[in-house]
């Protein structure tokens, strides 16, 4: 019985860690959809690029902390370049255009990574290998590091949106992009910020998770499916909704894994989310 309680405690923490990491990806996806009306099928690739960049930079400069700063900047910049080089012409058109364009961009990025890095998965040493004892079991301190970093980024995003001039412009554009433009808010600038921030957040999620999983070129596809479910269940474009849905998924998956196989826990998550959508088709929260 004591072991079960210990497992429950550890898996709850794991669920929180996973949930917060998912929230990093889903928040970016929700932000991009909420402001730009773009369903970004390439979002998972920014997560994957974050992980690959970390592996690459670590070969030359073995500093994980440096990676956490440099890699998101590179991925954000790449996101903005992709936005203006490849996506600009389809923005504002029917959803199918942006959907196909981002799907194509995602595919191209995966193939480029495959060509450049090869098909063998990579592994990254966790920057913190210390373990602590929780109840009777050992637990990696690095997972707490993921939790704290994810929390800091989410709080940072919230402060940015609520307190900064650009955050005000982003919120205004999300609510009425035409009126925001008529007031003098530059839509190209807002789109660049939003796409850059979204891509950067996905890459931070990838960087943080890389030491716990292997790094492979299709890792973005798996996580993207979850992120999409979270965004839909949270309420399309709602950041708070995405956060709640991320934590819910993280917890159900982690705690569920104690009683059933992890694969079944993933299916359980999807069943739960379908039930939520049946009860609240608009998602947990509406766009804010």
């Amino acid at each position: 019985m004591e072991q079960l309680w210990t497992q429950l405690a550890l898996q709850s923490i794991n669920g929180f860690v996973l949930g917060m990491n998912l929230a990093l990806i889903a928040s970016g996806l929700a932000l991009i959809f909420g402001v730009m009306d773009v369903v970004n099928f390439a979002h998972g690739e920014f997560y994957m690029l974050g992980a690959y960049l970390t592996w690459l930079i670590m070969q030359f400069i073995p500093s994980f902390a440096l990676n956490l700063v440099v890699a998101p900047i590179i991925v954000s910049a790449l996101g903005i370049v992709i936005l203006y080089a490849l996506l600009k012409s389809v923005l504002g058109k029917k959803a199918i255009y942006t959907l196909l364009a981002t799907y194509g961009i995602g595919m191209a990025l995966r193939e480029l990574v495959l060509i450049f890095f090869g098909g063998t998965s990579k592994s990254i040493q966790p920057p913190i290998e210390t373990k602590i004892t929780i109840l009777t079991m050992e637990y990696s301190l690095y997972r707490f590091f993921i939790l704290i970093c994810s929390l800091l980024v989410i709080v940072g995003l919230w402060l940015f949106l609520k307190k900064s001039k650009y955050g005000l412009w982003i919120r205004a554009t999300a609510q009425d992009h035409e009126m925001a433009a008529a007031i003098g808010i530059s839509r190209p600038l807002i789109y660049a910020i939003v796409f850059g921030v979204g891509s950067g957040m996905a890459s931070i999620a990838g960087i943080l998770m890389a030491p716990l999983t292997t790094v492979y070129h299709t890792m973005g596809i798996d996580i993207l499916l979850l992120a999409f479910i979270i965004v839909v269940v949270g309420g399309m474009g709602s950041l708070k909704g995405a956060l709640i849905a991320s934590l819910l998924i993280g917890e159900v998956q982690a705690v569920g894994s104690i009683f059933i196989k992890p694969t079944y826990a993933f299916i359980l998550c999807q069943i739960l989310l379908m039930v939520i959508l049946l009860v609240r088709p608009q998602g947990i929260l509406e766009k804010r």
Partner: protein
């Protein structure tokens, strides 16, 4: 100040504005009037860049603004109060006022002064600065839309049916605001409005539109005397 010359604007294949020309001189209040669906709102949207004309020219302070993006035109000193208010519902009243001001380079002191000044026109917004826009009544939302445009100290104010759906007391209050703005002569105004009485009372010049064309132009004093025109185009 603003010169609109021979513009043609389309919505898809519909020809909404057909060779429309008019002018707003510095410090004047010009009204575009006419029945519903004659293209008045489209004319204003064409100026601010939301429905750019496909032919013709719009100049503001002798600079060509035809086809420029809306955000660029707004930064030149034009402010727009749309027909259906379109405040940002999930921003507070204060944030709504800040959206336009944050685009321009005001010092914090200037911002404070501008907000104080605009609240003298619309004092009912004062106690509601921290409320979300969507919690305001329809009339207060209209005041907010007006205040959001005025707070940036515009050179040219574009008003699209500002009195629509307002209680008579609010109409009078907005009329007073317009008269006060005119008296200061700092801001030129182009107004689209259906309320003929208000239009005749506050405007310097009036243009009457029908089926996407300008059918009459003249001073408001002249139009007030011209019963045949009033009856023909406005049913007054």
């Amino acid at each position: 100040m603003l010169k609109v010359k021979n513009i043609h604007t389309y919505y898809g294949k519909s020809h909404i504005l057909d060779d429309v020309s008019f002018e707003v001189r510095k410090g004047t209040l010009v009204s575009l009037i006419g029945r519903n669906g004659v293209g008045k709102s489209t004319a204003v949207k064409s100026i601010i860049g939301l429905t750019p004309p496909s032919e013709g020219s719009i100049t503001f302070k002798d600079k060509e603004i035809t086809g420029l993006p809306a955000y660029h035109i707004a930064k030149m000193g034009l402010a727009y109060v749309p027909e259906d208010r379109r405040i940002f519902p999930e921003l507070t009243v204060f944030e709504n006022l800040m959206t336009g001001m944050s685009v321009k380079k005001y010092t914090p002191a200037e911002r404070e002064t501008n907000i104080e000044e605009v609240l003298t026109y619309f004092p009912s917004l004062g106690p509601r600065l921290n409320q979300n826009g969507d919690t305001l009544s329809g009339g207060e939302q209209q005041m907010l839309a007006f205040a959001r445009a005025l707070v940036v100290d515009p050179v040219l104010l574009l008003l699209d049916e500002p009195m629509e759906g307002l209680m008579p007391v609010l109409v009078s209050s907005l009329e007073e605001v317009l008269k006060s703005l005119k008296a200061k002569a700092k801001t030129s105004i182009l107004m689209v409005e259906q309320n003929t009485e208000v239009v005749l009372s506050v405007s310097d010049n009036i243009y009457i539109m029908e089926k996407g064309k300008i059918k009459y132009e003249g001073r408001s004093d002249d139009l007030r005397q011209n019963n045949s025109v009033l009856a023909k185009y406005l049913g007054v």
